[in-house]
């Protein structure tokens, strides 16, 4: 009797907690190393969908998101005051990802419903968290739109509809181009499987973006030994100034 119960539970629980379709993921690289000649990076995200059951009739869709570290940001708006353009209103966005890319296997409206987007924070506007605007700002949405527009222009925010290739409802892959202006940190990466706009399975991993070599050393020195770093900067400046002067004298006297 007890054994039967355990068996029943074992049968029941995977059906409830574990989805019928799971992601087996591969990344072309799980670390992005920022060295002196870093000029952005392209990451290939690929994987397969493992199924315990037969393929359902409705097509499966895949969404891939890569998010950078969350940081607060101030959005300011200019207005003309007495003939000159002045910052008048500002809204502090509590936490916005420094980088956010979302790639889908089909047009946005076909891959995820509005409620599921709200629940899983998938689209770019949903990935930005803004608690409230000051009392005097009535159109805080315009500030959020501006943030998305400006960061989109720098390729920091990317909406890549149809950029995920899905083959035979099983194999998928996409490429995410990361710009050069990356912030160091852990980049949570999600794969969402959806059917009829509903999320049926999710898989999470992370990409580590880190400065290496000279970049790392200088950054740490500047943070931990700022006085030493400042003196070093001046010493370099003085040495360079003297070096150039001496070199020019040599050139001119010869």
């Amino acid at each position: 009797m007890l054994r039967f119960l355990v068996l029943l539970l074992a049968m029941a629980s995977p059906a409830a907690a574990q989805p019928a379709e799971e992601v087996v993921l591969g990344l072309s690289q799980d670390t992005v190393k920022i060295s002196t000649n870093f000029d952005g990076s392209e990451i290939l995200i690929f994987g397969a969908i493992k199924r315990e059951t037969a393929l359902e009739r409705d097509p499966l869709q895949v969404i891939v998101t890569v998010a950078g570290p969350l940081r607060p940001v101030v959005v300011r708006r200019k207005e003309r005051v007495a003939g000159i353009w002045v910052n008048t209103a500002s809204v502090e966005v509590d936490s916005a990802p420094t980088f956010y890319a979302v790639a889908t296997s089909a047009p946005w409206s076909e891959v995820i419903s509005h409620t599921e987007d709200l629940r899983h924070s998938v689209s770019i506007p949903r990935a930005i968290r803004s608690v409230g605007a000051p009392m005097d700002v009535l159109d805080s949405q315009a500030f959020k739109d501006a943030l998305i527009r400006i960061r989109g222009g720098r390729s920091s925010y990317q909406l890549l509809e149809g950029a995920v290739t899905l083959r035979q409802q099983t194999l998928f892959d996409t490429r995410i181009a990361m710009p050069a202006n990356l912030t160091e940190g852990i980049y949570p990466t999600r794969i969402l499987l959806t059917r009829n706009g509903r999320v049926v399975s999710r898989f999470e991993t992370e990409i580590n973006v880190t400065k290496v070599g000279l970049e790392r050393w200088l950054y740490m020195l500047a943070q931990q030994e700022p006085l030493l770093y400042g003196l070093m900067s001046i010493a370099i400046a003085i040495a360079a100034g003297w070096g150039a002067s001496a070199a020019f004298r040599l050139v001119r006297s010869s």
Partner: protein, 306 residues
């Protein structure tokens, strides 16, 4: 060929040749006119996408290098009044400390960005305009063959604590140079520049120093003010980007040497008229930015930062 370099503090990748070129251009100006070039370099760095706080701090560091290179050239030519430079510097450092205090106070009030821009427009406008008119007149008089006006005795010569500045050929009170140093220091700290473009005309018109000595003496005091600013930014804001600075410096030190050569071949009036034109150009550009509707009304900033 593109050669992108990732800057560790700015956290952006920029073409190395663009930075070398910018450094070189500012270096030429520095050598020619004895200005650090901060008033030109800082806005140019904003333009290529360097975060403003990093641009101001790193600009100061680059100014040290370019000015030092230029100063050595002037020292060999004995066109530096070290005594006058020291007096100006004492005033300058006190002024810079006051300036930083005012800057931080304004930051808590907000609108510091606007104030800095207005400072640029007003001071660049006044100084550029005055210099332009004056040197144009001097140039016209020289063509006509009229003798240059003799130095007049003014109230400045009636002040106490007189000191002999042999290199400048002056015997004046230390109060005017101390005050000039002080006010330039205040403005330099608020505007985030070395202050050469204010210092040079102040030395010529207020103190009556000869133009050839003014350049080297200005460079001498700029090195210390800019060095002081670099340390201040490195220790409080962590915004000095040494990779960015090295690239600007490499261009800048070479440029400064060429600038010094060009400077010695030009007449003092021509030198002044060129500097005036340059100052007015930057002034006009900043004024237009304030007057014309920007294409993007919104800007992003770090909370608490500039």
């Amino acid at each position: 060929m593109t050669m992108q370099v990732y800057l560790p503090i700015s956290e952006v990748a920029v073409n190395a040749f663009v930075l070398l070129g910018l450094g070189g251009l500012v270096g030429v100006l520095s050598g020619m006119f004895g200005v650090g070039g901060g008033f030109l370099l800082t806005p140019l760095l904003f333009f290529i996408g360097i975060p403003p706080a990093v641009a101001v701090a790193t600009g100061a560091n680059q100014i040290v290098a370019a000015s030092f290179s230029g100063l050595l050239a002037h020292l060999r030519r004995k066109t530096v009044d070290l005594r006058m430079g020291t007096v100006l510097l004492i005033g300058g450092l006190v002024g810079a400390a006051i300036g930083v205090f005012i800057f931080n106070y304004l930051k808590t009030l907000g609108q510091v960005d606007l104030l800095v821009r207005l400072c640029y427009v007003v001071f660049l406008g006044i100084i550029g305009g005055l210099m332009f008119i004056e040197s144009l007149n001097a140039l016209r008089n020289a063509r006509r063959g009229a003798p240059p006006k003799r130095k007049k005795h003014t109230w400045i010569h009636a002040l106490p604590f007189k000191m002999r500045f042999r290199t400048s050929g002056l015997y004046i009170s230390v109060i005017p140079p101390l005050l000039v140093g002080l006010s330039v220091g205040v403005l330099a700290a608020i505007m985030g520049v070395g202050g050469g473009f204010i210092m040079v005309p102040a030395m010529i018109y207020l103190l009556g120093m000869p133009t050839k000595v003014v350049v080297g003496t200005s460079l001498f005091q700029i090195i210390f003010v800019a060095g002081f600013t670099t340390i201040l930014h490195a220790t409080t804001n962590y915004t000095v980007d040494v990779v960015l600075a090295v690239l600007l410096i490499l261009g800048g030190v070479v440029g400064a040497q060429f600038g010094t050569i060009i400077g010695t071949r030009l007449k003092a009036e021509q030198l002044r008229i060129l500097l005036a034109a340059m100052v007015l150009l930057v002034c006009g550009k900043i004024a237009l930015e304030l007057l014309i509707e920007p294409s993007e009304l919104y800007t992003l900033a770090k909370p608490g930062g500039v």
